[in-house]
């Protein structure tokens, strides 16, 4: 390994992240499926519907466009969230949504969302944006409310 001497970088001030509430996505899923795999486990759950109703985005979940393809950590019940699905906005635009994060047995369910939207439409503001998302779910795991905040 090559050595590296850290130079004097001067005074370093913390740059904070400020969250700005954007909208809620209310999603409906099929019942989940989970199985052991060579890498630990896989958790699959199809997204079958959902809505976003807000001043900044009005869209429906495009039914059966994807869902959760999570992996399971070994021995602690933690799910690594890896979800992909599409929205169809009120103007017909298709919007891709990706969730990456953690679902823990203690109820902690948080994800980062990355969204791809058409650059020439009203939802271009979603592009180039990191969303911090707090999720709450029903006891059968089929109804999940995602509260999206823009990481500014």
């Amino acid at each position: 390994m090559r050595d590296f001497k850290i130079p004097d970088l001067g005074e370093m001030k913390r740059q904070d992240v400020v969250l700005d509430y954007a909208f809620q996505l209310k999603a409906r899923y099929d019942p989940p499926n989970a199985y052991r795999s060579a890498k630990g486990g896989r958790f699959y759950q199809a997204i079958i519907g959902g809505t976003v109703r807000s001043p900044r985005l009005n869209a429906d979940v495009y039914a059966d466009s994807g869902g959760a393809f999570d992996t399971l950590q070994v021995g602690n019940g933690v799910r690594n969230i890896n979800a992909h699905f599409m929205l169809k906005a009120e103007n017909g635009d298709y919007i891709y949504v990706e969730h990456v994060g953690y679902h823990r047995p203690d109820g902690y369910y948080r994800v980062i969302a990355y969204i791809d939207a058409p650059t020439d439409g009203p939802y271009d503001w979603l592009n180039g944006t990191t969303f911090v998302v707090t999720a709450t779910e029903s006891s059968d795991l089929r109804d999940v409310v995602f509260s999206y905040y823009v990481a500014n």
Partner: protein
């Protein structure tokens, strides 16, 4: 082909190049992100009505990374290579250094890094980082809409945010395997070209 890494950092859609040196936004003296000092109190943010769950952030650590060499592979989707040469790690939940030359930003359509952190106790922690970057006319002010900067105009504020995924060994650092973290990233040219990452646990 060598080139300025700033031109590689543009992720997301509809983005113009972040014109290097076109504004003071990259200079320490003109850093335009909110700065609230080094406190470790949680910061809470609410929705448009009380029924919307709040979201909280708490500073956990910071990393300054000195990147080295800027190379571009002119593949069908161009691939970048920029070493993570080293740098310090400080903060309430992790201290140490970037393991020298342990990885790089393998840029493709945005920031895409893999390298190793070495904690003060010797633990090695893998970091994979993705990010988004976008240029705006002015810094974010709560309650005000953000206006994107046009391609040919200098940005008053470049929002560069990252979401790292860590793989840490069992033991004192294993919280990093199951805690969502978001970060700010700021590029500085002076006194030495480096990027500072400030990471916050999502509560």
């Amino acid at each position: 082909m060598d080139f300025d890494r700033r031109e590689m950092l543009i992720g997301g859609g509809g983005l113009a190049l972040m014109a290097a040196g076109s504004t003071g936004a990259n200079a320490r003296s003109a850093a335009s992100d909110a700065v609230t000092g080094a406190g470790t109190e949680p910061m809470w943010f609410g929705g448009s009505e009380p029924s919307i769950p709040r979201a909280g952030l708490r500073w956990c650590f910071s990393v300054a990374v000195l990147f080295a060499q800027r190379t571009m592979v002119q593949s069908p989707t161009p691939r970048g290579f920029t070493w993570a040469a080293g740098g310090p790690i400080w903060g309430p939940r992790l201290q140490g250094r970037v393991l020298p030359y342990s990885g790089a930003d393998y840029y493709r359509n945005g920031f895409y890094t893999h390298y190793m952190l070495e904690a003060a106790d010797g633990a090695l922690i893998h970091i994979h980082n993705r990010g988004t970057s976008r240029r705006f006319k002015a810094p974010f002010t709560p309650g005000m809409p953000l206006e994107p900067a046009q391609r040919d105009e200098p940005a008053g504020w470049t929002r560069f945010r990252v979401s790292p995924v860590f793989e840490a060994p069992s033991g004192p650092h294993e919280w990093m395997n199951q805690t969502l973290i978001v970060g700010s990233a700021t590029i500085f040219r002076e006194p030495i070209d480096h990027t500072e990452f400030h990471y916050f646990e999502v509560l």
